[in-house]
Amino acid sequence: MTNSRPINRRRVLTICAGMGAMAMLAPQVGSAGPPYQEWRGRALGGPARMAIRHRNEALARKLVAQCVDEIERLERIFSLYRRDSEISRLNREGRLDDPSHDLRLLLGDARRYGSLSGGAFDVTIQPLWNFYARHFAARPAYMADPAPREVERLNRLVDYRGIDIRRGRIVLGQPGMQVTMNGIAQGYITDRIANMLRDAGLDNVLVDLGEISALEGGAWKVGIADPGDPSNRIAQLTISGCAIATSAGSGTKFEPSGRFHHLLDPATGNSPQGCRSATVLAPSAVAADALATAIAVSPIDRAETLLRAFGGYRAILVASARNILDISV
């Protein structure tokens, strides 16, 4: 991660999502007990932190160093902001002959989430996202709406089923097709890190790399901020042994009105206007991440179906400041 890189849209997105939607974390246990250690850094362009309680400080430090290495390794695979990442190479060349296990595994899962959500979650949305981002970056002054015909054309490239991940390589089905793991990679990295720490015998850990995962051993408070007013907390959850993820279109708007934001519905190619933020509790951060995205772009009445299909625990949807939906299964 070079410091010289200008802040780009994705960074704003993750900073907003991270700081706005669920920044309020605090270890529930007071000052008693083993020392509380915190690491802060960046992962996939957004702020990241790990909080660990462990008696052996030296061991905890060593583990944190290992985790930082692992984050770096996964960034080299999933980051769209590194020209030599696997995902960038795949998008540039339309195929990848030596993909890492991580990319194959996660694309397999992504495909499964795609079919579970009936196409609401789709990692091939990248050409459209790119188009919107470029469109509004080039015309900040008069904000003409993007041409529907172009949206329609690009939306034809969006189909997760067009990715072939068999035989140890990855091939994109059509020219121009592009993949983004931004709706799921944070979750994957969070799971990897949480598992690494669990395997090392730690159980009182909170990992926040865009999505949040808490191991079983401790209870951690997570606040959900009001998407309209990030200083206002609309709910506070205590999580332990599960992961939590939020998707909020308001996180990054392409233009001020909010009609175009970073969440795109693969069915129409446009930004959905129903739900302002969707927060999901699920057994893994990958599932929570994908599910939050799927719920946020779908009509609100599909939320419960999706929650069940993905095996999630609970979803909190904010349609407006007064209309908050809390679904548990």
């Binding site: 052996n56 400080e57 030296a58 061991l59 430090r61 060593k62 290992q66 290495d69 692992e70 984050i71 770096e72 390794r73 080299r76 002959d97 030596d98 890492s100 296990h101 991580d102 194959r104 595994l105 397999g108 899962d109 495909r111 499964r112 079919s115 089923r161 991940i165 068999r166 035989r167 140890g168 390589r169």
Partner: protein
């Protein structure tokens, strides 16, 4: 006849001139003695001051005061006692340990350039950063003559805050690079040794206290003893990953997919895969597994940094799969270390059929995989072999699960700081220094080759007087500017004392190799002593000598009167330098640091190493010497220089006499003697090799038939004969 008369006249004239001058010389000579005595007294005083300064530095083996520890570990409230292995003192903040203090000599037996104890008290906090450092004991500097204890103290202070995991490199002239720091000017080697002592000790303490990973300095590839398979497994040289069908299927069940058809009757407890893996490059693992013959063949062509991994498996799942036959890639495996991923391709794969190790089971498949040099893989750090398993959903889409075999090479293979304790400095230290200074080394070698060529062709060179003079002054200028002021390569009598000291105690080439230019110079001097004498160094390569000669030449330009010391006095002043040398030598036998102070007699440190930027008494002393040199060329070299003395003594063994003389020399003619800049030619015409600076001045005269009387004589006679013959011939023609 005419020519002959002239010759005698010249001789007489010369003699008369000498007698006229001699009275003035005597008077001036006594003045010189008086001022010389004053100078000596002054030097002695300075020496005593220095001795006092140095001896107060040695705090050796005192109990560490809390004050001192606070200085090294700011923020600590109290300290434990020295214990553990390696020994260290815990630093506490209230009841919590916040780091450790250690003494480098106790941890890595750190030695200084003198080969004697170098002891630095330093601290390491729990983040792996140095908290501070104080020198407890040192006997530096020996080769480096430009350094005060304060410089060294200041230098070690700069280590505070440095991360031990990414130690900075100490270089002579650090740029703005954050990974480099300036060595103490003129004490590069001492600086390197101190940095080495601090970092190595900190690493050893950090590793033993769990602050740092074990040192990744390397893996023992050669150690061997016969062991069997169960032993390799038990100690972790071979690691295993065992998955039953049920375990392999678990991640897929979560996703609603089966790995195998449940109706096929497979036992869920049956073996899916038992993968064994290990690093095969260490002989203790590879040679035991593969047998001596095969292992030797395999590793014979192995480059430094190449690594071989052994994999073997049983069960129904193949780690190789079949796709590599078509694609050339083993897509079921990936090796992960830190943030690096390594994949294997066909040309990295070696098939093996049979293991030689006793106690190993039969394997369904086995392979060796090689990682090339420069892959970034570090055998000393942990790694994991990841295995990917593929299943299909009902609609034919693939889903994956990965499993990792964790591997960490057992500590017994690790070469840590502790295993290299016997030799406190790493071999690579001096190699790095040489690489760093490669351009300087090349230039110096070129310079020495040029000088060698001058000596080799001296008869031809000196006959071109003008060219020779230009060459000599240019050479002296290079000696002064580049060798002296730029490269700080000024030999010192301290080198001789250190060398003698090292011969008596533990001699290690490493010490001397750490200063490439000094090493080369000394090698050259040693050779030159054998062939010709001290002159090759004193007259050509000594920067201070060059400074004296050039300043004297300029003085002569401005018609500063030159004093020729009468030979009788001159001769009696010579021994001073031997006395100074012997005194220093005697002192060095018992106290090298006192000898160091005494070596301040040499103006080299002030004039060359510190470029006159020093306390005024030193500068005054040097300016006085140079001032004397304006009237008496190389006054210091002649009478005081202990280095010259130390070179003159072994130069007695020289094998050749290259400087040409005639039988007339000293009998009929004393021109060379009168022109010799250091008056090294006795009135009897013989050249005193102990004093000669090999400037070849006498040789230019020797070949010059306008100066050297016998040659003039011969030329005149030849011309006369030619004239006579021409006259006679003319007669014949007529």
């Amino acid at each position: 006849m005419e020519a002959c008369d002239k010759f005698h006249l010249t001789l007489r004239g010369e003699i008369r001139m000498k007698t006229e001058n001699s009275r003035n010389n005597w008077i001036l000579g006594f003045d010189r003695i008086r001022s010389g005595l004053r100078l000596l007294a002054c030097a002695g005083l300075i020496a005593i001051m220095m001795v006092a300064a140095v001896s107060t530095r040695a705090i050796a083996d005192q109990l560490l005061s809390t004050e001192l520890m606070n200085q090294v570990f700011p923020g600590a409230t109290h300290y434990g006692s020295m214990d553990g292995e390696p020994p260290a003192i815990a630093a506490y903040k209230n009841e919590e340990i916040i780091g450790y203090l250690f003494r480098t000599h106790a941890v890595v037996r750190s030695l200084g350039l003198s080969g004697k104890t170098l002891d630095i008290l330093s601290g390491l906090d729990l983040n792996g950063a140095i908290t501070g450092a104080v020198i407890l004991e040192h006997h530096e500097p020996i080769l480096a003559i430009g350094v005060s204890s304060e410089d060294l103290e200041q230098f070690v202070k700069e280590f505070a805050g440095m991360d031990v995991r990414s130690p900075v490199r100490v270089v002579r002239r650090a740029g703005n690079r954050p990974d480099q720091m300036d060595a103490v000017s003129g004490a590069t080697v001492s600086s390197l040794l101190m940095a080495d002592a601090i970092f190595q000790s900190a690493r050893a303490v950090g590793q033993s206290r769990g602050i740092l990973e074990r040192d990744a300095s390397g893996v023992d590839l050669t150690g061997f003893e016969p062991v069997d398979w169960p032993k390799l497994l038990q100690e972790g040289s071979i690691a295993q990953l065992r998955l039953s069908l049920m375990e392999a299927e678990a991640p897929f069940i979560e996703k609603g997919v089966r790995l195998y058809d449940p109706t096929s009757g497979s036992d869920p407890g049956s073996l899916f895969i038992e993968l064994s893996a290990g690093l095969a490059t260490p002989a203790r693992i590879g040679r035991n597994l593969l047998g001596t013959q095969y292992f030797n063949r395999l590793t014979a062509g192995l480059e430094d940094g190449e690594h071989i991994f052994f994999l073997a498996a049983n069960g129904r799942y193949s780690f190789k799969g079949t796709s590599y036959i078509k694609t050339g890639r083993f897509d079921r495996l990936q090796l992960v270390q830190g943030s690096n991923r390594f994949a294997f391709e066909r040309d990295q794969h070696t098939r093996i059929e049979k293991l030689q190790i006793p106690g190993a089971p039969e394997f369904r498949e086995m392979a060796l995989f090689t990682l090339p040099t420069g892959s970034g893989f570090d055998p000393a750090r942990p790694w994991r072999m990841e295995l990917i398993v593929e299943a299909s959903t009902e609609d034919g889409a693939p889903l994956f699960a990965t499993h990792a075999l964790e591997y960490k090479i057992p500590d017994r293979y690790l070469l840590t700081a502790e295993s290299s304790r016997i030799t406190p400095r790493s071999k690579s230290l001096w190699k790095n220094v040489w690489l760093d200074r490669l351009p300087d080394v090349v230039f110096l070698l070129a310079m020495l080759s040029f000088l060698g060529a001058i000596f080799f062709l001296q008869d031809q060179v000196v006959q071109r007087r003008r060219l020779y003079k230009i060459m000599r002054y240019v050479f002296l200028a290079v000696t002064l500017l580049w060798l002296g002021w730029y490269s700080v390569a000024q030999l010192s009598v301290l080198n001789v004392l250190t060398f003698a000291g090292a011969l008596r105690t533990e001699f290690q080439w490493d010490f001397f190799l750490l200063e490439p230019l000094l090493f080369i110079l000394w090698a050259f001097v040693a050779t030159a002593l054998l062939f010709g004498g001290r002159g090759a160094y004193c007259g050509w390569l000594c920067p201070f000598g060059a400074l004296q000669e050039l300043s004297n030449r300029i003085a002569q330009r401005f018609r500063v009167p030159q004093i020729r010391v009468p030979f009788g006095l001159h001769e009696r002043l010579w021994p001073i330098k031997y006395i100074v040398f012997l005194g220093l030598f005697a002192v060095s036998l018992s106290a090298i640091d006192m000898a160091q102070a005494g070596a301040e007699v040499e103006p080299f440190k002030t004039a060359i190493v510190m470029r006159f930027i020093r306390e005024w008494p030193f500068v005054v002393y040097v300016v006085a010497l140079l001032g004397a040199g304006l009237f008496i060329e190389r006054a210091f070299c002649r009478y005081l220089c202990p280095l010259g003395a130390s070179l003159a003594i072994p130069a007695r063994i020289r094998m050749f006499e290259w400087l040409k003389r005639r039988w007339h020399c000293g009998r009929q003619c004393n021109i060379c003697a009168s022109k010799c800049p250091v008056q090294a030619i006795h009135p009897n015409g013989s050249i005193n090799p102990n004093e000669c600076i090999y400037c070849l001045n006498c040789q230019t005269i020797y070949f010059d038939d306008t100066i050297c009387p016998p040659l003039i004589d011969r030329r005149k006679r030849r011309e006369a004969r030619a004239e006579a013959r021409a006259e006679a011939g003319g007669d014949n023609d007529e």
